[in-house]
């Protein structure tokens, strides 16, 4: 973590404390100390760790679905503009529909549980993954494909070396953006239609007017979002360094 990043984080906490002391309304903005002690209480309960594991599992599942559905569909849409044009309205609708609008469909069809949050979160992130991948495919260097045609390179080798290599940075970008947003979306959907998870804890804290609890859980969500994004970036860097710091395929 860079010094600038740590200083920026420290400035945010300092600003929070100053505003809390000026306002002196713990119901709106509790102090750092109150929030910290509520967080410590949470950390000592098994319920919190169960909720964290449940949310992490849902985030992992959402990311896997986004990756394994988004990348192939993105490649298909990039290669076949006709199919892309045909599916574009549906994609636009899915992209524009607010999370809350799915609620009725999800609760009546999937019930309250983990499936609803996973379904809604996947739908929320999927269009971004598809569109990013499709634009990656469309920006592919056509001269490389011509070269492959001249040498009659089989489709599988072409997909691996030309498409795979060109899409690697786009796949990384998709994962980074999805990781940053997945925690947020999963927590919102758990809040709305989940039976366990950090989002449900947030709902309970709101019902109990436990403002420090809401801030503590939100802080956990922010930390997890930033941590997982940085962890992904770090793993990517280690992977590249293990191959001499060069952009390459596995």
């Amino acid at each position: 973590m860079s010094r600038g990043f740590l200083l920026g984080g420290g400035a945010v906490l300092l600003g929070w404390e100053i505003v809390a002391r000026v306002l002196r309304v713990p119901l709106i903005l509790p102090s750092l100390l109150e929030t910290g002690s509520r967080l410590l209480e949470y950390l000592q309960t098994p319920l919190f760790w169960f909720a964290l594991a449940r949310s992490a599992g849902e985030v992992g599942l959402v990311l896997l679905l986004v990756l394994f559905l988004g990348l192939p569909l993105g490649v298909l849409f990039g290669v076949r503009p006709g199919i892309f044009a045909f599916c574009r309205p549906l994609l636009g609708i899915v992209q524009a529909v607010p999370v809350i609008s799915w609620l009725g469909v999800v609760i009546f069809s999937l019930g309250i549980g983990w499936r609803g949050p996973v379904f809604i979160s996947t739908l929320s992130l999927l269009p971004m993954a598809i569109l990013t991948t499709a634009s990656g495919v469309r920006s592919l260097d056509g001269t490389l494909l011509e070269m492959a045609r001249v040498y009659r390179v089989p489709r599988i080798r072409r997909m691996r070396w030309i498409y795979g290599g060109a899409l690697l940075p786009f796949g990384e970008a998709v994962m980074e953006v999805a990781l940053g947003n997945a925690w947020k979306v999963v927590l919102v959907t758990e809040y709305l239609c989940g039976d366990a998870g950090l989002g449900v804890l947030l709902a309970w804290a709101r019902q109990g007017v436990d403002t420090p609890g809401i801030y503590a859980l939100s802080g956990v969500a922010v930390f997890l979002g930033i941590f997982s994004e940085r962890l992904f970036r770090g793993l990517g860097r280690i992977f590249r360094l293990s191959r001499g710091g060069r952009p390459c395929l596995p």
Binding site: T143, M147, R149, V150, Y151, W161, G165, C248, L249
Partner: protein
């Protein structure tokens, strides 16, 4: 020598714009043919047709061999693959060491294209084309971006390969020295849409020196021929303008 490729009345048009018109030629097995013409006269389009990248609007090409090597104008190497992977992309069974030795790049198999100079990338481009054991080798202004030393060095490598394998070479260029250094036969392209306006047997041994009197004399002949034809064309277009 048997006839390998026959091009019959070939024409290409993009919409209303005709690029090639009535191209006919026979290329014999093991021959080194050069198409010499100005930029934009459809030389690359012709090579794309032979390489299977484009279909002609009229006419046809017969007798194309199955193994074709293509040395592109830009190197067209996969940026995220090593030299070795680039060579194996075209032919997984090729002998990388042998190919790199042939183009004087031994020891560079694990380098990435961005780690190579333009001349070295072009050598890999050539090695990739040779790696498919081509019966026909197409060269699209392959040496245009190289400095003089690298240009002659790569052309020399190519001639060495040809002496061993006797594949057919078809090169397009606007450079007279390149054409004379590599070609057995030179076809002159002219006009718009371009046509084959004439041909010349070079009549020099494969090992050529660009400063030998024979080479320089033929160079002079080609220049004179090209200048005379361009004057002819200018006077014809002047007459056309006057009459209209």
């Amino acid at each position: 020598m048997s006839s390998l490729i026959r091009v019959a009345n070939l024409g290409v048009r993009f919409g209303e714009h005709r690029v090639l018109e009535g191209w006919s030629m026979k290329i014999r097995f093991g021959e080194r043919v050069v198409l010499l013409g100005e930029s934009g006269c459809g030389k690359t389009t012709f090579l794309k047709i032979l390489g299977g990248l484009q279909k002609p609007s009229e006419g046809d090409v017969t007798g194309m061999p199955s193994r074709v090597g293509f040395v592109f104008q830009g190197s067209r190497l996969i940026p995220w693959a090593t030299v070795e992977k680039n060579l194996r992309f075209a032919n997984p069974a090729c002998s990388v060491e042998d190919l790199l030795e042939r183009v004087h790049l031994s020891g560079w198999e694990h380098a990435y294209p961005r780690e190579l100079s333009g001349g070295m990338q072009q050598r890999v481009n050539l090695a990739r084309a040779l790696g498919v054991e081509p019966e026909l080798l197409l060269l699209d202004e392959a040496f245009g971006s190289l400095d003089l030393r690298h240009k002659f060095s790569i052309m020399h490598d190519l001639l060495e390969f040809w002496k061993r394998r006797r594949c057919t070479i078809l090169m397009v260029t606007h450079d007279i020295t390149e054409a004379l250094f590599l070609g057995d036969r030179i076809l002159f392209l002219r006009g718009s849409p371009s046509r084959i306006a004439g041909e010349m047997e070079v009549g020099l041994p494969p090992d050529r020196s660009p400063w030998s009197p024979d080479f320089l004399e033929r160079r002079g002949t080609i220049i004179r021929r090209l200048l005379e034809s361009s004057e002819d064309q200018e006077s014809k277009s002047r007459d056309c303008r006057k009459s209209s």
